[in-house]
Amino acid sequence: MSSGTFAVLGLFSDAHKIVEAAKQIRPRKIGRLEAYTPYPVHGLDRAIGLAPSRLGRLVMLMGVVGACLALLFEWWVSAVDYPLVTGGKPLFSWQAFVPVMFEVTVLFATFTAGLAMLFALNKLPFFGHPVLHSRAIKDITRDKLALSIEATGKTFDAEAARQALIDSGAESVEIVPAPSWDRALSLVGFLRTVAAIVAACVVAGAGLFAVEKLMPVVPPMIHMHDQPKLNAFRESAFFADGSGMRPAVAGTVARGHLAPAFATPEEAGTLLSNPLPLTQAIAERGRRVFNDHCAICHGTVGDGVPLLSRAYGGKPGNFLSNEIRARPDGHLFGVLMLGKNAMPSYAADLDKDDRWAAVHYIRILQRAQNAKDEDLQ
């Protein structure tokens, strides 16, 4: 569309007359009606046949979508992906989710309203509206009301539109030409656009510099941070020993780490027996523990050949040896707990059930290497 008519504008100075004119012209279907007024005119929207905006429904829809997505996300984060009990509350605590749901609803709704209004319904961006280049624009922004018949298709009859506006009482009529792309695409137009972008960057940079470097720094609110409190691993004048962290009471036992009632693995062998039943799940757990913690030195099959390089000079026990096969379960458990020779204690790394599961798995490895005839049948 390099040439031709964009619209025919008729100017009025009376709000009632423009509404009447729109009502007269609209049924003749000459072109799409549009109105430009310096102030809102009651009833003009209906007279030019403006349908109620679809924006409201879109905003409602996206608001509901936002609420549902927020709820889904919070449920997945708090109850599925990273279940962490906070303040003794259930994992799915809808009460705590409502504020976030509300915020996300508002976020989705307002962004939809703003962006859909600008880009979908008002068809931005464009360089300039043709009416802005008309002669009448100064009057329209001052005290005149303009009714415009926009060209729709090739069959648009500008003369008929002009006549219709004059007949319905327009004070003056102007034909607005269609926008010319030549001007927007010329070298001058391109340079002007580049200059505008550069100027925007310079202004933004200068503004940032002024705020960041030149303005005095206002300290943030840190009342909560500065309140009197105890920090673990920090000194504190509150307690006599000068430490913020309290030593554990003598005899304190961490959950799942009962203090051993034995002094040596041999003693453990006489006192303890494996409390876990041998099930598929326990065997699987034992395999995991063994491969993660034991196999690196004792080998994947427990033959005492380390996975580490030959440079490792230690001599890990061979679980398949008759000596270790003869030891009771409690003895193996005791070694895991207390350590032996170069082997450190695993009491801090593995809990009680992990250790017993590993003992089960060691027995499975031993049986696998010393299968009896009936195992093969």
Partner: protein, 384 residues
Amino acid sequence: MSAPRSLLARNFLLALTVIGAAGTAGVYFSVARERFWVNWLVWTLFLLTLGLGNLFLVALERLVGAHWSVPMRRVPERIASLIPLAVVLLLVALFGVPVIFPWTFPAAAHNPILVAKAAWLNLPFFAIRLAVCAAVWMLLYVFYVRGSLRQDESKDPAFTVRARRLAPAFMVVFFFSVTILAFDWISGLEPEWYSDMFGVYLFAGTFISGIAAMIVGVLSLMRRGRLPEVQTKHVYNLGSLALAFTVFFAYIGFAQYMLIWYANLPEEVSWFKHRIEGAWQPVALLLPLLHFFIPFFLLIGSLGKRHPATLRIAASSILLGHFVNLYWLIFPVLGPTPLFGWPELAMACFFFGLGCLQIRRAMGRGADMPVGDPLLSRGLEWQP
């Protein structure tokens, strides 16, 4: 043609009130005294909050200088006539204070929390607070409502100026008095509980139910052709206001609940625990449904605010929700199960009839529009 119908309605209301009065007397002598006074309190507060909410709307119009609501202002002024009735009923309720308020019981002297609160919760100070609040409400009611009626004849524009000047002071006094009403007469029923937000909560309920009552009143007058110059655009604004403050009420109500739920302090949580668990749970669920979800989704579109039937359903839902709210706030002091039997119905007949008769009586006073207000013509010509 309308005269016999109106007479019929009046006789029906009279009969309802008389039967209700007889039933109320029966309740007093046959059922536990606590139940009688708790019913009395719920209904008195229901009528009082509707009256106060509408007086607030009248003053709010003066404060912000609104024109659009001037043609409909007689409706809230007439509903505000519930204030003198409800004030009398509340003064009568003073006799019930030693029956239902635990801080008056002898055991309170051994409760360290109540001993600490005794400076506020004692009968003489309680009565003084009520007297001051009642006097303030009556003065404001007489000033705004009777003044507006007098302006019908005098056409004196000076009253409009005076009413606007008093409005800021009205707001301050009103918030304080409603907060005292909420603390004294509702949360005082379980005096160990406290919530700073409770005053705002009752105020939000008062305001939104006041708007709802005004909508019902305006629509019923319009249906009878008594407000011929009030148009959809005026009513539309009422719908917008109702939507906004439906959300405000839900916000305040949920904020109070969520903060207490989060902090999980025993003295705060116990109040909610016996209101949202067990047999009270259905009532607790009914409250957001009637007070928020139904009116919100009916009013969110522009159609709902224009369409009288939709608007009426939304307003009725809010009014019913306001009653359920007061019931849910006050009745749990009687026990873990919601009581609703013949005593409640009898007393509902009595108070409902009394309130309707009072509003009907006020309807006879003055014109249906504030014809003496110089802003009336601007209100009628008002464009959105």
